[in-house]
């Protein structure tokens, strides 16, 4: 557990993706089975047990510490698990902190040296070690209490002893051994996970207390985060799988393929990755298939492409998913919905599952359809990330699958077939399914790039009709392209609709993280609005990408030279009608937001250009954004 905690701790501070990968891969290499398997499960969210309530943790600490000291500490630290982990008292005997009485002042040098010797010995390792032996430390505390009267020994150096004395078995009754050489070792991750799975609710407090006594600070922190379900460390399941793939020099897609058939602690997976066994076979009746992605097309790319080689279709602004159905051993249909990273999201969309009644694998887009009309992404967002999918939610936001591609038809894997052929099979499949919740994404007929350009500029009159607002652009797929995982070159292109653009004024800049920690790379920008004393700038968003490295240097220099005030890592940058920097900001959409002073929030904002040429007074006004907002807001409420 301590080693796993160390990994989590380190990951929590590491901003770089590649470095995170190396830390995780390093852990998998270093730690044996089955611990690393449970770690992989924890990182991919594959662990399941009933979480402990914060109130339980509060009760545990209240039984051991002074409430005033706990209150002051909690105020300072601000996080319950961390406060408890940090201040968890070493002794296991309640409030009765060991305090060896006050020796009367003996201003003789000998007694001073006696203490000095013992503090030297104390080392700090000894401190930690006490935490590992609740029962033994009671004995020690008593010992030092006795000694307190005869010498000035305060932090008992004895407690450091016996630390390395190996594992003697958890079942040994520690209290039957009067010696303090028998500290139970801290629990392994495996022990924690397997115990939590079966532990009754009433047994949990005592068990947690035991573990807290045995673990070090980081271990306690990780344990509390794990049992309360608060393990937020900025690691996606995909990243963890990529890290484990690196252990055996494999492509992460291979892991995704077999993943649904695997279960913690993944012994077969690690055996394969380390070359000790054959690749595990995915016996899942509805497995995920690694997704094929497109490259963004640039103007100059078209010259080399022949329109006749491509099929075009609308790029819908929803969530890319894979809907898979298959027959299990008994012939029953199992249906699953996966995100494009392979995450199983079936639970969030129970209303779609009955529609997936034919064995096959559809690549498509999740959308909200109301009276046959596709709603904008803003509407779809109301259905996402909900803990409870209520009947009301399902009714108000009816889910729909728009199909792009067919990867499997019953037992047949279609991925090697050319796209044109798969498309035909898809049309047949959807027709056979004949379900109102699933339909076909239409293709866009075109003969030349000019014709497609026109269609993209006006989807409504090019076939998208009333759904045009939900069109995010155009997809181009080579007729002969097989379905390949990842982003293969020259097969699929995305040609997104032009983003919304506004000119905004840089107001505040903040230092970035990791590689960018010496750069002011996070920018808050604003637009003009009428204030009490004339026009003033109101912040409308924040962006930290979109610029080139060279532009970053330029903005960084501008920020440093034009700072009006500093607040920690944030700098106020000059923003007056005639002094300041205008940023061209591109974004995908707008939403009303009570959290922002301006009342609007942008979707996917990024810096598209630096307008050194433009004085701030000529930047856009809030009214422009409000007009765009009205159009979109009307839709959500519809």
């Amino acid at each position: 557990m301590n080693r796993f905690a160390e990994l989590l701790d380190r990951l929590a501070y590491e901003p770089g993706r590649n470095n995170k990968l190396r830390l995780i891969t390093g852990y998998f290499r270093e730690v044996g089975d089955p611990d690393r398997g449970y770690a992989l499960a924890a990182l991919t969210g594959a662990l399941s047990f009933k979480h402990a309530k914060p109130a339980l943790i509060r009760d545990l600490i209240a039984a051991r510490t002074d409430p005033v000291l706990f209150g002051l500490s909690y105020d300072y630290v601000g996080d319950l698990s961390e406060t408890v982990a940090l201040m968890w008292p070493k002794q296991a005997h309640g409030n009765n902190e060991s305090f060896p009485g006050y020796p009367s002042p003996q201003p003789s040098p000998t007694s001073a040296f006696a203490l000095r010797a013992s503090t030297d010995e104390r080392g700090e390792g000894a401190q930690r070690s006490t935490a590992q032996s609740p029962d033994a430390s009671v004995t020690i505390a008593k010992q030092s209490k006795r000694e307190g009267h005869t010498s000035l020994t305060v932090p008992s150096p004895l407690v450091g002893e016996g630390q390395e004395g190996g594992y003697r078995g958890r079942d040994t009754n520690v209290s039957s051994h009067p010696s303090n050489h028998n500290s139970p070792p801290p629990p392994s991750l495996t022990e924690v996970v397997t115990t939590l799975r079966t532990l009754g609710k009433t047994e949990l407090p005592r068990q947690l207390e035991r573990w807290l006594d045995e673990l070090d600070e980081t271990g306690r922190w990780a344990l509390l985060k794990l049992v309360t379900g608060g393990l937020r460390i900025g690691i996606s399941a995909r990243l963890a799988k990529t890290a484990v793939a690196a252990l055996g020099d494999k492509d992460p897609h291979e892991i995704e393929l077999i993943w649904p058939g695997l279960a913690p602690p993944y012994l077969d997976l690690f055996a394969w990755l380390e070359g000790r066994a054959e690749k595990p076979v995915n016996r899942d009746p509805a497995p995920f298939r690694p997704v094929m992605l497109a490259h963004a097309i640039e103007d100059m790319d078209f010259a080399a492409l022949d329109p006749a080689d491509y099929i075009a279709e609308w790029k819908w602004d929803g969530i890319r998913v894979q809907a898979v159905a298959g027959r299990d051993d008994r012939g029953h249909i199992t249906a699953r919905l996966y995100s494009r990273t392979g995450e199983d999201i079936t639970g969030s969309f129970p209303d779609l599952v009955p529609a997936l009644r034919l064995p096959g694998a559809i690549d498509g887009e999740l959308l909200i359809l109301r009276e046959g009309r596709v709603q904008s992404f803003n509407v779809l967002q109301q259905r996402l990330n909900r803990k409870v999918v209520s009947p009301k939610l399902i009714k108000e936001f009816p889910i729909h699958l728009r199909a792009y591609d067919l990867l499997g038809d019953d037992e047949n894997d279609l991925r090697e077939l050319p796209f044109a052929e798969r498309r035909e099979r898809l049309e047949t499949f959807i027709a056979k399914l004949d379900d109102p919740r699933i339909d076909l994404s239409p293709t866009i007929p075109f003969a030349s790039w000019e014709a497609l350009t026109a269609a993209r500029a006006d989807p409504a009159s090019a076939g998208a009709g009333e759904d045009a607002d939900a069109v995010e652009g155009v997809m181009l797929k080579r007729r002969d392209a097989p379905y390949m995982p990842g982003r293969p070159k020259g097969q699929w292109w995305k040609w997104k609709r032009d983003p919304h653009i506004i000119d905004a004024v840089l107001m505040y800049a903040q230092r970035g993280h990791g590689k960018r920690s010496s750069y002011y790379s996070d920018y808050t920008f604003g637009v003009w609005t009428a204030g009490d004393g004339g026009d003033e700038l109101v912040p409308v968003g924040k962006a930290y990408f979109g610029f080139t490295d060279e532009e970053l240097l330029q903005i960084d220099r501008f920020v440093r030279r034009n700072t009006t005030e500093k607040f920690g890592p944030v700098r106020h940058v000059v923003h007056e009608p005639d002094k300041g920097l205008v940023l061209e900001v591109a974004f995908e959409g707008l939403q009303r937001s009570p959290r922002h002073k301006s009342g609007v929030a942008m979707r996917f904002p990024r810096i598209s250009r630096l307008r050194w040429d433009k004085p701030p007074r000529e930047a856009d006004r809030l009214e422009t954004l409000e007009r765009m907002l009205k159009a979109e807001a009307a839709e959500i409420e519809a």
Partner: protein, 390 residues
């Protein structure tokens, strides 16, 4: 009594005189002797606050005519250690350990005080009506606790201290006393600093894992930086260690005083690629600024007791927090307080509330001393001048 006690006049050499030798001051000022020759009964009933009293300039010893770690210029200053919030320039006379005096000289220049006098650990000096004795505080090189005794009452002003091992300074010595004045920088039970050697192992493991990156370790330039270097050497790291320019002088001084730090090189002027896989020590404020751009994919570490709290580390953008502190942690503070045998505890800078509460719950008289101007040296370290483009 306040009205009658005046500090002895200033302006003579040997202001701080060992007991047994009559000081020039006393000879020259019979008025003073008269004043301190008060009836014995009066002196015996002397309260601790009559010996040491917090005033705006710092902790004032009226019967001795001096201030301890004054934050404003005073006539006579007795200084615990060289950190800038305790050791300031401009006093008439300064009594401190040789190391502290040297550090002040390095920081403020030759004329940082009118007069100076060095005192050794264990040495006792009579000042006015009190005796002053210096004891090691284990905080940084030359740091001292100051025991002030007047008749039967002994007060120990411990300055900043730690009871954990440190290869770069004399270990903390416990001084039994009646009143113990303690800092409370880490005066909350959440602050428990582990073994510093383990933290250094973490750093070395990171260097091994990321050999193409430069590791920048933010550390206060007086004390912490040298301790980290010494710990690295103890852990067997024998490659050259690089230094930010602001660290060079004081680190060199440590070497002169016989602290083994191995091969040290200035980071300035070294080619970027050559810094891959190296460790560089820098003031904390430098590790997140332009200066770092000379390093290949720098990884920021920070050696401080504050790193125990994750939010603090994240706020600073630290990637590798190293919990290495030159202050006593909660266990160190409470163990020390208990062991001094003092019945009364005065708590200065830091988290006074929690420590005062703890003392009271253990039946000790305790109160916070409202002294302003002291803080955690890491927080007060000024940023690098001008943030020159690099």
């Amino acid at each position: 009594m306040d009205a009658r006690v005046k500090p002895p006049p200033i302006g003579f050499g040997g202001l701080f005189t060992p007991p047994g030798r009559r000081s020039l001051t006393e000879t020259a000022s019979p008025r003073m002797t008269g004043e301190f020759g008060a009836p014995a009964s009066y002196i015996v009933s002397m309260r601790p606050q009559d010996i040491l009293l917090p005033v705006a300039a710092g902790l004032c010893c009226k019967p001795g005519g001096f201030h301890i770690d004054p934050v404003r210029p005073v006539e006579r200053a007795v200084i615990t250690h060289g950190h800038s919030d305790h050791a300031r320039a401009g006093h008439g006379a300064v009594l401190a350990t040789q190391e502290t005096l040297d550090m002040m000289r390095l920081r403020y220049g030759e004329h940082f005080a009118g007069l100076t006098q060095a005192i050794r650990y264990g040495e006792e000096i009579r000042l006015g009506d009190v005796t002053v004795k210096f004891h090691p505080a284990g905080h940084v090189l030359g740091s001292a606790q100051i025991a002030v005794s007047c008749k039967d009452t002994c007060i120990v002003a411990s300055g900043d201290y730690k009871d954990a091992p440190d290869p770069t300074c004399t270990p903390f010595e416990l001084v039994p006393c009646d009143v113990f004045i303690t800092e409370a920088t880490f005066g909350l039970p959440v602050f428990r600093h582990g073994d510093a050697a383990d933290e250094v192992k973490k750093l070395l493991a990171s260097v091994a894992l990321f050999p193409e990156r430069a590791h920048l370790v933010g550390a206060y330039s007086l004390g912490k930086a040298q301790r980290v270097i010494a710990l690295l050497r103890q852990a067997g790291y024998d490659a050259p260690i690089y230094l930010h320019g602001a660290m060079e002088t004081i680190t060199h001084y440590y070497q002169i005083r016989g602290i083994e730090l191995g091969e040290l090189r200035p980071a300035k002027g070294v080619k970027k690629a050559a810094l891959a896989g190296t460790i560089t020590l820098a003031p904390p404020s430098a590790t997140s600024d332009l200066w770092t751009r000379r390093f290949p994919d720098p990884l920021t570490a920070f050696a401080s007791g504050w790193m125990r709290v994750r939010a603090r580390a994240r706020q600073r953008g630290v990637e590798l927090p190293l919990v290495i502190s030159d202050h006593a942690d909660w266990d160190g503070l409470t163990a020390t307080i208990g062991a001094t045998g003092a019945g009364e505890i005065w708590v200065t800078h830091g988290q006074e509330d929690a420590l005062v509460h703890w003392c009271q719950s253990k039946g000790l008289k305790a109160r916070p001393l409202d002294l302003v101007g002291y803080g955690d040296e890491e927080e007060s370290e000024t940023p690098i001048e001008g943030e020159a483009e690099a």
